[in-house]
Amino acid sequence: QLFSPVRNVPSPQASSYNCNYNYAQGMQGQSLLGCSPPRFSSSQIGAFNSSHKGKGLSPLHRVFNSPNNQYMQHVENLSLPAIEEFLEDYQGYSSSKESSDIASSSECFDLSSQIPPMLDGLTMPNSSRYHDDETSVHGAAAGSRSSQISQESDMYHQMGSMASASLSQALQQERYHEKQQKQQQENLMLPIPIGIEQEQDNGLQLVHLLLACAEAVAKEEYMVARRYLHHLNRVVTPLGDSMQRVAACFTDSLSARLNATLTPKPSKLTPPSPSNSLEVLKIYQIVYQACPYIKFAHFTANQAIFEAFETEDRVHVIDLDILQGYQWPAFMQALAARPSGAPFLRITGVGPTLDGVRETGRCLTELAHSLRIPFEFHAVGEQLEDLKPNMLNRRVGEALAVNAVNRLHRVPGSHLGNLLSMIRDQAPNVVTLVEQEASHNGPYFLGRFLEALHYYSAIFDSLDATFPTESAQRAKVEQYIFAPEIRNIVACEGAARFERHERLEKWRKIMEGKGFKGVALSPNAVTQSKILLGLYSCEGYRLTEDKGCLLLGWQDRAIVAASAWRC
């Protein structure tokens, strides 16, 4: 069973952004779970802090670090009280345990200064104390709630002085106040969407609406959720900036989820797929060409395999998801350019359809022929769950590499163990694993939602920076590649949810649990990736290293993680 990974202490980064959206994972009784902070080696921290300013940050990041909203450092946690409540129902969460572990991050504790749940929090604190530009909109709506505001102000002061005091007291106080307001909460009108031009506030509003809606869905308060969706649909647009587009995808997915839960018969959640597979191929090609993620994955894996095959004469590569075979031309070229000449190369390609794999094999054979590499291709048209050892066609005397780029997360947890054992039994020299670096397989919907929101915001932001503005190609990529992923993560449950991304830490545990040992990626791979990233015109891509594995990210969010294993 794959759960969200548990992290003990928030990353040492002082940035408030990363410390938040923490929720407890009851399973192991541990305290904090960061949804978003990727683990970077400490040497990178300085770089990240400096990157917090300026444009080109992920939209969520910008929204939270906007200088206008100093209170955001508090309010960004405003989801926490509600989540805590929600989680209490689930696992008897103990605050005392949390307090000792949270102690290191003081900013998280400002959150304990009472922030009313999002419904109120959206406009009230804005108008009461922190906004410089007094918008009368807030004033009008605040009429009936001025008492609340003063309550909050008092609480802020109280909490501020108490910040150094025991945390558990603070949390208890907070819960008490929160329960007081909860009754009023039910009858409150939803906040009117603010018509402020400031991009950060709009983004903030979107995020709050999304989170509120997701929370309502998680708590199965469907009427509330519908109201939020109604508001969201008025505000988001697939034609706006990256934050709005990402919000549009999430809104659609939330609607889909709501509909799926409410309609009695199970309706198939088919995303809008292009009419023919040729379109899909073209769109995949666009992503492959324009963004470095896939190229990084391929080149890094190739480098690891190439180095493992350094002195071999007969080599065999099993690609667990060969698609169009874009990974292998570069590999073949590296083999052909070897001073000792090219080895005898066999590739076994696995894919969903036999015809597709055979077609790829034909192209690869042609290329190998022109490169004068002795080559053999073997096609396997099976789902990974149905893979049998004899299909892998292993021969004695050859070096074996197994390549799994962005495929293993789709294998259901029950089959994953068997698959990995089978791979291990084949005695490969190296297994390369590249996966999306996100924790989208947690058991709790809200946690998944938060994580996905951060992750895809970063991706959409990178797409925004990479493609020209108003690019039709970017819209296609977003619509046909990432929107279906979002939809699957948010709207589907059980066996229907196949985008089960896990973080590198989790994959490490899985691989090590099956008897694999990690192989550190060589400095050559690092250099190569650096040069590759240097060829891209936009500035935001970041390369980091984590215990021998490489991660490619956008700004401060890791997107793809590459690792190599042997057994």
């Binding site: 040729l278 090609q285 060409q289 169009q324 570069a330 490169l371 690019s471 250099t527 040069i531 015109s537």
Partner: protein, 149 residues
């Protein structure tokens, strides 16, 4: 006496570079990329030379990496001229180097990466008939300045 001098002078004046293709080739080999492009516009002979003689372009790409295996790979993938046009030139511009600098020292990694990208480009063209994409689609497009589609 004067007639002899005049004869020699005429002989000297009648030296015409296009009559000596080998010398021409040696000279063209030493040009940088943009100059070679300009040279291609001079006359038909120069044009056909720059177009058809791949060795003229070899010196622009990885001059310091002259192993036979690299040459075989490049030739198999489409030749040095294509390598230069499609790959080396955009890479140089992205790496911030002027094309006029002929004596650039390529690191081994840069060479490998460029060759890999070139190979992917060739592979894409192999599969073009299958995908029926237009000829301009290329995995190296990211190296060019983005154009609004």
């Amino acid at each position: 006496m004067v007639q002899q001098h005049r004869g020699e002078e005429e002989k000297r004046r009648r030296f015409f570079i296009n009559d000596n293709v080998d010398i021409l080739r040696e000279i063209l080999k030493r040009l940088d990329g943009p100059s070679l492009g300009v040279a291609a516009c001079v006359c038909r002979l120069w044009c056909s030379l720059t177009r058809n003689d791949d060795s003229l372009w070899e010196h622009l790409c990885f001059r310091h990496v002259s192993s036979a295996s690299v040459r075989a790979v490049v030739v198999a993938l489409g030749g040095y001229k294509r390598l230069y046009m499609v790959c080396v030139r955009p890479v140089l511009s992205r790496l911030g180097d002027s094309e006029r600098v002929r004596k650039r020292v390529w690191t081994r990694h840069e060479v490998q990466l460029s060759l890999s990208l070139f190979c992917i480009d060739t592979y894409e063209r192999l599969g073009t008939g299958r995908l029926s994409t237009d000829a301009s689609a290329s995995s190296l497009m990211f190296l060019c300045n983005t154009v609004n589609v």
